[in-house]
């Protein structure tokens, strides 16, 4: 178990990167705490697997350093870094039994046989593989194989970190949920530093203590699931996290309020203060969960309800404001959307202002 420091880390797959666009990972400085569960979240091609491979040592970063507990491991190959990694597709040793598979990383490191036996039994129990310990690994089903791969990652007690590269891609949806919970349980039991790569926000938010959101090779936010939801620091986070994502409206500032198509929208005073210096393109953002219809005697921004989708225990209303500005709004399952003369209320505490895609305030 270890703390992971990324110091001025950047990576390009090109020999001589000319501009920021040539970098698969832009420069970043982060400290990941010992025993934390971190998720690297982002769309395909955002650099999350590159970052994971840099931590595991499969890729050497073109700039910066990687430290495990203060020790520089940038130049060490994976086998000398004391990490474990679980890949997207199950990697198992076909000719070995389940127990031999689990024992393999330990045996290669000269762990005493009695301890190996103890440890493999323990891990197999955690992952519900006890019944098939003596079966040939090649005969397992896809999900059991992946559990076995995970087991091989978790079996060593001295690892600095266990890295997961989208490990649940091949798993059936109903088992996904189960395995994710299992992993969380194991994390609480063993307190290993876990780094988990995924493009699935549910997976990231339920698994991790801290989520690292990557977008075009940049870390756009590192925060708890709650922070990502309540205070997205970048429009991408707002848009990527949540279903549906955050609503964004181009605006300008006037007299301490945001103006959208001539309608004034209140913002918190401190935000307005910070925004004074901003020169970039301004947008306001609000989550569908916080946007609401005006009640009796309340004033809001006029809008038309285009469509209401019933999703079981809640509804999503699509509303139009002005010309072609569409917003989503989340309603309780038994609240009816007003059919005519709807007005939208933007609660100031949940209305965020973005300048050049970055959160203001």
């Amino acid at each position: 178990m270890a703390r992971i420091d990324l110091e001025k880390l950047a990576h390009s797959y090109m020999a001589r990167p000319a501009g920021p666009a040539d970098y698969a990972l832009r420069r970043m400085d982060h400290v990941w705490e010992d025993g934390g569960a971190y998720a690297l979240l982002g769309p395909s091609g955002c650099g999350k697997t590159t970052l994971l491979n840099i931590i595991s040592g499969l890729v050497r970063p073109s700039e910066g350093r990687v430290l495990f507990d203060g020790e520089d491991v940038t130049d060490l190959p994976p086998e000398h870094r004391n990490i474990a990694q679980v890949f997207q597709f199950p990697v198992i040793y076909d000719t070995m039994t389940v127990r031999e598979n689990l024992a393999f990383p330990l045996r290669n490191r000269g762990v005493p046989a009695a301890r190996i036996r103890e440890r493999t039994t323990e891990i197999a129990e955690m992952l519900d593989l006890s019944d098939s310990l003596d079966a040939k690994a090649a005969g397992l089903g896809a999900d059991a194989k992946q559990k076995l791969s995970m087991g091989r990652g978790l079996v060593r007690e001295d690892v600095a970190a266990v890295l997961f590269d989208e490990p649940l891609t091949v798993i059936d949806p109903h088992l996904k949920w189960q395995l994710r919970r299992k992993l969380k349980e194991i994390h609480e039991q063993l307190r290993l530093t876990l780094v988990y790569v995924t493009h699935d926000q549910t997976e990231a938010l339920t698994f991790a203590d801290k989520v690292v959101v990557l977008y075009e090779g940049r870390v756009v936010q590192l925060g708890t699931p709650q922070e990502l939801f309540e205070r997205p620091e970048h429009t991408f986070v707002g848009y990527f996290i949540g279903s549906p994502g955050m609503n964004f409206l181009d605006c300008r500032l006037e007299g301490g309020r945001a103006l959208v198509d001539g309608h004034a929208i209140e913002l918190p005073a401190d935000v307005v203060e910070c925004a004074g210096a901003q020169t970039g393109a301004l947008r306001i953002g609000i989550r569908p969960e916080f946007l609401r219809f005006a009640g009796e005697g309340e004033r809001g921004v006029p809008a038309r309800v285009l469509e209401v989708e019933d999703l079981g225990n809640y509804q999503i209303a699509t509303v139009e404001m002005g010309e072609g500005r569409r917003l989503s709004l989340k309603l309780d399952e038994d609240t009816a959307a007003p059919s005519e003369g709807a007005e939208l209320v933007f609660p100031p505490e949940w209305t965020k202002l973005y300048a050049d895609e970055q959160l203001v305030g």
Binding site: L58, Q85, F89, D94, F104, N108, A138, S149, R152
Partner: protein, 288 residues
């Protein structure tokens, strides 16, 4: 239940039946027919299984069969491990890998007769590079006179000509192993040997079975190369089954024994191929 009967389907199969009849079944039946008769001054006399008994009990033919088994066994023992070894050493990608593939494929393109001629000249004591070099080193090497030298030369020629096939198959098999397996093995702290033993070899099992099957069938039928090189000699030390069949059926025009010989030869190859085929199709089923 009513099942539609459509006899016209037979028409669709007819062309294949005709082609196969003329290309395989009728010629084969002719050979079967020969093998039960004696042809003497234009007369055919039914002799039953006499030729079969003759062939199976002829010590010379038994010796040739023994040599053939030894030859094919050695071919498999040398070419398969050597092929895997070379494939493991080959560059995985880039220009170098293409160059290596082309260089390796070259011997496969050379016709059998030409291979025999090349090695015949190559090994000659007086003029060939190999023969002259070995003799200059003080080694008494003469493949036309010494049976062991003849065998070594035939084996070297065979290995030179066909190992590439095993290399290409093994190389293709290795290329299809995802990188994640190697990365996982590195992280698990596996040694190079362990990677070979637990990842590469199990993943190569399928292609290696095919390589074994192809090399076995081909080497069991070998004819032109040793015949060109040594003519089957010295004595009959490098006379294999095909050459012997050729002597009986074509040179001596003994159609009866030749027919019986062909059938036995064919059945042996069929039997071995069947065993290999069963092994291949059952591969991996044992652990399901």
């Amino acid at each position: 239940m009513h099942r539609p009967v459509n006899q016209r389907a037979w028409l669709m199969v007819l062309p294949v039946v005709l082609v196969v009849s003329f290309s395989a079944i009728i010629p084969l039946m002719t050979v079967v027919n020969y093998s039960f008769q004696d042809f003497f001054r234009g007369q055919a006399i039914w002799v039953g299984t006499e030729w079969y008994v003759d062939i199976l009990t002829d010590p010379e033919l038994q010796a040739a069969f023994g040599r053939q088994l030894l030859f094919s066994g050695l071919v498999l023992l040398i070419e398969i491990p050597l092929g895997v070894g070379i494939a493991l050493c080959m560059p995985k990608r880039g220009v170098a890998s293409s160059a290596a593939l082309v260089a390796l494929a070259l011997p496969l393109l050379v016709p059998w007769r030409v291979v025999g001629t090349i090695w015949q000249v190559f090994g000659r004591g007086g003029i060939g590079l190999l023969g002259v070099a070995l003799n200059a080193l003080g080694i008494d090497y003469n493949y036309t006179g010494d049976p062991l030298d003849a065998w070594l030369t035939v084996m070297a020629m065979e290995v030179w000509h066909w190992t590439s096939l095993a290399v290409l198959l093994a190389y293709a098999g290795l290329q299809s192993i995802p990188d994640a397996f190697y990365q996982a093995a590195r992280i698990d702290g596996a040694s190079r040997w362990a990677i070979f033993r637990y990842i590469e070899l199990p993943k190569l099992k399928g292609v290696l079975m095919i390589a074994v099957l192809l090399r076995f069938m081909d080497s069991f039928k070998i004819y032109a190369e040793p015949f060109t090189l040594t003519g089957g000699g010295p004595g009959s030390s490098t006379t294999f089954l095909s050459q012997q069949l050729n002597t009986i059926a074509i040179m001596q025009s003994d159609l009866g024994p030749g027919g019986a010989y062909s059938i036995i030869y064919f059945l042996i190859i069929l039997l071995f191929s069947y065993v290999f085929y069963q092994a291949i199709t059952n591969i991996g089923k044992d652990n399901k």
